[in-house]
């Protein structure tokens, strides 16, 4: 395998007594889509800021494009495209102007940037909004513009911090489509998310983070295989009965998780398990058989759900 574009060993970041990132190791290779999955406060964004050479580590080592972000910040940032959690667009300028001025910050020639603006407006499906003020755009449009902006310098690595947080389902799907096209083209993507479906759709490989530490690493499929069963049966007996039923249910499958509103039963065959429950004369109010997801992996690793 070729040299990694990003390589971190024992990467740590402390804010006073609080440890935001706690000695993590990871490598990101060219052309892969790498994810940080974890709940809010897991240290994902802090790790991204260290990689993006805008925040200094407390200890450990990291190289980005074979350089140290602490020493070669501007040289590294010259080859990164950053999509922050909050769309920090220039609200007073038009859509096209936002792309243009951002390109100029990279020292790109005027003529090149002007051509690039047209190309990126098409990519972001914002051609008709070219001269509109940014403040008039919808949340999804702003997000697409922020992603287009990050591509203006044709970066080596595109970094996306919670790319679809706060968007409605339709806007999320449009955005995923755009990102998936980039992934297909071999653009190296670095994504943080607390949405397991987003991580499953977009990431070739990911690390699961909690409280600043890495809990597991692998492809979405391998993580599910290693830390969960093939299927999950969700049953609801009513919030007052879920707990009392748990002991009986536990004996019927590999593992169960009791959540406040439902019980999750881990099994290789959900339908067969459901039949077994009915045969035992237990009658859940609702039941659902589904495939295991990264949410189940996270639950297994931390005992908590991703969104709490």
């Amino acid at each position: 395998m070729s040299n990694p574009l990003i390589s971190a060993r024992g990467l740590t970041k402390k804010f006073g007594d609080f440890t935001a990132v706690n000695g993590i190791d990871f490598d990101v290779f060219k052309g892969e889509s790498f994810g940080f999955l974890g709940p809010n406060g897991a240290g994902k964004s802090t790790a991204m800021r260290i990689i993006g050479a805008t925040s200094q580590r407390t200890s450990g080592t990291i190289t980005v494009l074979d350089k140290d972000p602490e020493i070669n910040g501007p040289q590294i940032r010259a080859h990164l495209g950053v999509v922050p959690q909050q769309d920090n667009l220039d609200m007073q300028l038009s859509v096209a102007e936002n792309l243009y001025i951002y390109g100029r910050y990279f020292g790109l020639p005027r003529k090149f940037v002007k051509g690039k603006v047209d190309e990126l407006l098409a990519f972001a499906q914002l051609e008709e909004k070219r001269d509109a003020k940014v403040e008039t755009l919808s949340g999804g449009m702003k997000r697409r513009l922020t992603i287009a902006r990050a591509l203006v310098s044709e970066p080596e690595i595109l970094m996306l911090d919670e790319p679809t947080t706060g968007l409605d389902p339709q806007a999320r799907h449009i955005l995923w489509d755009r990102l998936f096209r980039l992934k297909e083209q071999g653009v190296t993507l670095l994504i943080t998310t607390h949405f397991m479906d987003e991580a499953e759709q977009l990431c070739d490989r990911l690390i699961v983070m909690d409280k600043g530490s890495i809990m597991a690493e692998g492809s979405p499929a391998s993580l599910i295989k290693d830390y969960s069963t093939k299927e999950v049966l969700e049953v609801r007996f009513g919030s007052d009965r879920n707990q009392s039923m748990a002991d009986q249910l536990r004996a019927m499958c590999d593992r169960i998780e009791e959540l406040p509103d439902r019980v999750l039963m881990y099994t290789e065959d959900g339908e067969a398990l459901l039949e077994k429950i009915y045969a035992a004369n237990l009658h859940p109010k609702t039941s659902l058989v589904r495939r295991s997801s990264l949410e189940d992996v996270f639950l297994r690793l931390t005992g908590r759900t991703l969104i709490e």
């Binding site: 805008t54 010259a78 080859h79 102007e97 090149f112 990519f123």
Partner: protein, 279 residues
Amino acid sequence: MSITNIRQGSLVLVDSAKVQSRGAFYVAQARTRQMMKWIWMIIGIAIANPILYLISVGIGLGGLIDQSVGPAGVDGVKYLTFLAPALLAQAAIQGTMDETVFPTLEGFKWHKTFYSMNSTPLSGTQISYGIFLTALFRAFYTVVLYFGVMWAFGAVESSRAWLAIPTAIFAGASFGALMQALAGRLEDENIFFVVLGRFVMMPLFMFSGTFFPLTSMPFFLQWIGWISPLWHATELGRHLTYGHVVSPTMVWVHFIFLGIMLVLGLFFSARIFTKRLAK
């Protein structure tokens, strides 16, 4: 629609050495582009302000003062001529303050645009210098327009009066740099604006020898003038526009005071911007 042109790694095009030398100008270009969105309002204010002040205070109040002091005048000249250089410096100070404080708050707090700039090769120092350069640009045309109105009102007597333009801009730059550094540290701007407006800008305007010579004030209040960039610029402006007597030593003192303020302002502004962006 095709995205076949989305490429990666334009190593040839992205030139971080070029950004290192020109980064502040890129920021200034972007900021100027923003400013152009309300340029007519800025120009309108820059012209209307001196007209209103010079008519009401310079001619209206000045007429009464000129009658009462007689041919001796105030500092040997008409009140309008005495007042105008102070207003010129005040316009520069107000203009640079607006163009340093508001963009700084917008960049760090309101829209967080400085963070997007800092995710490019631009550094905190370059961002702070870029904002400052744009403020200088505004101070320049504000002062030139103001001076034009002063000239039209007959408030300019000396042939070297035009030199009051750079001295006013210098004072604006000094104050603006310091305010930019201060704004860079702000977390809660509401209290700041109350304090700034009522306890800084107003006393500076009233007690910097703007409307009467500083020496007319009780000695215990004169210190406000000494620490005020407005007084230093006003003294230089009066010296240049109508020959107000300032000793060569005091000319140096005025320039050195404003120079120190400028250097400290720029130094702390760059430092504060860099630290806050890296938080």
